[in-house]
């Protein structure tokens, strides 16, 4: 069965490693913080100026001056630090953040990503996404395999304005974990109960399928 958002977040959380600084984008990526594997410590960076983000505040304890990049009220953990936006993107551009998780509208098999604009329809802006994808050595995209019309978002070539070129290396969708190498998607794992055929049929880009495709263990 296809994963829900929580399932995607749980699978991505398995990619975390002890000691990493991690930037989580808005939406599904934010949920990853709830499923940090036992025994490892990671620290979350939010590009609006905080390191050491904690959980949401208890009701009545919200502070308008303390939010994350999604403008949600947050708390901080012991050992947190606040800083300005130039310092924040120094961390990001300077590759001090070990992992970036973000959403996408489209990803192409050469690692291009599009997630900020639908010409004539929707323009929210790129926020920090262009800085993040251009800088991070380790990017995981959390996304749905298809759009609402059932069209694949895992493409030979992106159709929307790009956010970054050749930067995505790993994708986790509701159906599968894919890696990008040599201008192709590689099927690494499938969601529990999801068939390879379904994944193949919903992937427009070139997909390399090994003989055995393990199921995710969540």
């Amino acid at each position: 069965m296809a994963l829900d958002k929580i399932g995607i977040a749980k699978r991505i959380a398995q990619e975390l490693r002890d000691g990493w600084y991690v930037n989580l984008g808005i939406g599904i990526p934010t949920l990853v913080a709830n499923y940090i594997p036992e025994g490892i410590e990671v620290e979350f960076q939010s590009e609006n100026g905080v390191l050491g983000m904690g959980p949401f505040p208890f009701e009545g304890e919200e502070d308008a001056d303390l939010i994350n990049a999604g403008k949600q009220t947050i708390t901080v953990l012991k050992g947190a630090a606040f800083f300005d936006s130039a310092m924040s993107f120094s961390m990001i551009r300077g590759q001090h953040v070990q992992l970036t998780v973000l959403g996408a509208m489209e990803v192409s098999q050469n690692g291009d990503i599009a997630n900020w604009k639908i010409p004539g329809k929707m323009v929210k802006g790129m926020g920090g996404a262009m800085d993040l994808v251009a800088s991070a050595e380790n990017i995981i995209v959390a996304m749905m395999h298809s759009n609402r019309e059932g069209e694949s978002k895992i493409l030979k070539k992106c159709t929307l304005p790009l956010t970054g070129v050749g930067c995505v290396k790993k994708i986790v969708t509701e159906l599968a974990v894919l890696e990008i190498r040599d201008n192709k998607f590689y099927l690494i794992e499938r969601a529990p109960g999801v068939s390879v055929e379904e994944i193949v049929s919903k992937t427009e880009g070139d997909l390399v399928v090994p003989d055995f495709v393990p199921e995710m263990v969540l």
Binding site: S46, V50, E59, A64, K71, D84, V123, M130, G164
Partner: protein, 232 residues
Amino acid sequence: MNKVVKNVEEALVGIEDGMTLMLGGFGLCGIPENSIAQLVKLGVKELTCISNNAGVDDFGLGLLLHGRQIKKMISSYVGENAEFERQMLSGELIVDLIPQGSLAERCRAGGAGIPAFFTPAGYGTEVAEGKEVREFNGKPHILEMALTADFAIVKAWKGDTEGNLIFKATARNFNPMMAMAGKITIAEVEELVPAGELNPNDIHTPGIFVQRIFKGEKFEKRIEQRTVRIKN
């Protein structure tokens, strides 16, 4: 060097139609609310506003958009504002969208006398159109120019009579860089204290960057996304 002005009216003297303003804040967090209200009152028009966001429909820069006071916005993210999206898609508003890190760095550069710098952000995208591309360490970068403004308007938590500023938590965001990049920088603060009361080690924005400072009359500090846990 007493930089204190009596109130927001006095603070904003000299802001005219057609000027370029920088306004601190990320979303509604750390925005100069009192100054924005005064800009509405002044009715100055044809403004170019440099600010990470455009506020929401009825708060922050949304108030200036509503009154059609803004000709051009230079921002990184404008997703929480229907009126903004309408004006932009209809062509009434000129919009220059910039990657957030490049926006922050361009403001800092403007204040720091760095006219241009290379960044990887935006390479291969619309943002790179017309910009010089150069490889460093095998990776393509684009040349970005500094930004400055006629007035920079920032909001701080504490300030002293010398113009030294301390920001609180994530309300710091773009405020320090914009303070650097204004020809005239105006700071509205929650607490205004005599020189000597702030620890010189803890200053975020040294007073040299601030020309006018005043205590804001009231701070509503609206929350955009109130997310909470329930206590068991």
